[in-house]
Symmetry: C2
Subunit: 203 residues, 2 copies
DNA sequence: GGATAACTTGACCCTAGGGTTAAGTTGACT
DNA sequence: AGTCAACTTAACCCTAGGGTCAAGTTATCC
């Protein structure tokens, strides 16, 4: 994957770069990022690059030049798209909180994010393991989940046979159904989320 | 879709046909059906036809000749693949049974079928609405579900805000996750099924 | 053991999408 | 205003898979 300049796609993915881009290239980067965010929001991270290029008013080769391909493009927008919200969710439950409330809030927030951002499900599925940002996000989220569940088990409020993989499986399942079926009404979606959260609590 | 003879794919899909096939053609039909069942079991109903043809030792054009395409082929094997088991599941809960047990058994049996047959999820999703058998199966299953849930609600054992679409959504979600992730161990899968069933019961 | 309708198939066309590159265009520095 | 590296892109190649058909093969009937 030889790039035109010595700048790597990773460097280009960041906001600032040692050697600034030429004016036309910088303009294109901005437009491509905007188009990618809109497209990824609507269709998930596997939207054809050609479609994004068309929306940005450039040819797809320009995306390859600027970002090195889909992985680079994802890296360049995933922060704005998903990572920022996910990190916010992870900061919400404080150690001082009631262990059950912390879990319920966390699970509900994740479900909410899935409803708003189909791309989050792609992130969950690690469909693009070459995106460094996505890998870091996944690791952080896994740690967060495990520590929350541990607290819940220790406090005796969480069903003891409920594991982190159970939550992962359930969220993947939910995200895929959300994409495969036509989007449920918010009130139906929330009710199902409530069913799920209720099922985690000790009886 | 012009066929060689006046026989339609639908007629060919059945076991017996007015005018019998030539010996070589009959042999091919048998081999194609067997290959399709094996392939659909392993990979779902969207397995490439070329792969099935290769496994059957014929060219894919023969599948088009004999079955008229994917829909016809599905029609020809869906009975053996899924419909027979699904109808069996629907006959298990008797009207005399305890309403809660009937629901729990039905839901558990469906989950079990999903685990064994990825093709069942394709059927659930109605990915191939041109298969008459699949449409009939879906209608029967929907009716069954609705009547079971009604009984559960009337008897006050089923969460009153739980609907037939909730069950459909949950089963689609489960089926998609099952296919997207690597297959969970049976004991994990069964535990998650138990969580789900527990969550349906009135508290 | 012909004749012929039934049957099969290799070779084709088409589409969507990922990825690359030679050749042309243009911004920026002098 | 000229130079040239930076930049863009049309035009390409490639793969997977759905679908079709003219030409050849073969089972069956007489």
């Amino acid at each position: 994957m030889a790039l035109v300049s010595s700048r790597t796609p990773i460097e280009d993915a960041g906001q600032a770069s040692a050697m600034p881009l030429r004016a036309d290239a910088a303009r294109n980067v901005t437009q491509i990022r905007a188009a990618a965010i809109a497209a990824f929001r609507g269709r998930g991270l596997s939207t054809p690059l050609e479609e994004i290029a068309a929306a940005a008013g450039v040819s797809k080769a320009t995306i390859y030049n600027r970002f090195g391909g889909r992985d680079g493009l994802i890296d360049a927008v995933i922060g704005e798209l998903v990572a920022a919200e996910m990190y916010a969710i992870m900061e919400r439950p404080q150690p001082a909180d009631d262990p059950w409330q912390a879990i319920a809030t966390y699970v509900r927030d994740r479900r909410d994010l899935q409803y708003r951002e189909p791309a989050f499900t792609d992130a969950l599925l690690m469909m693009y393991p070459n995106s460094a940002q996505l890998v870091a996000l996944a690791r952080a989220a896994t740690e967060m989940t495990e520590s929350l569940l541990r607290r819940g088990h220790d406090a005796g409020v969480l069903r003891e046979d409920f594991t982190a993989s159970d939550l992962y499986y359930a969220d993947v399942a939910n995200g895929l159904a959300l994409r495969a079926l036509r989007r449920p009404a918010r009130k139906d979606y929330d009710r199902r989320t409530r069913f799920f959260i209720d099922s985690l609590r000790v009886r």
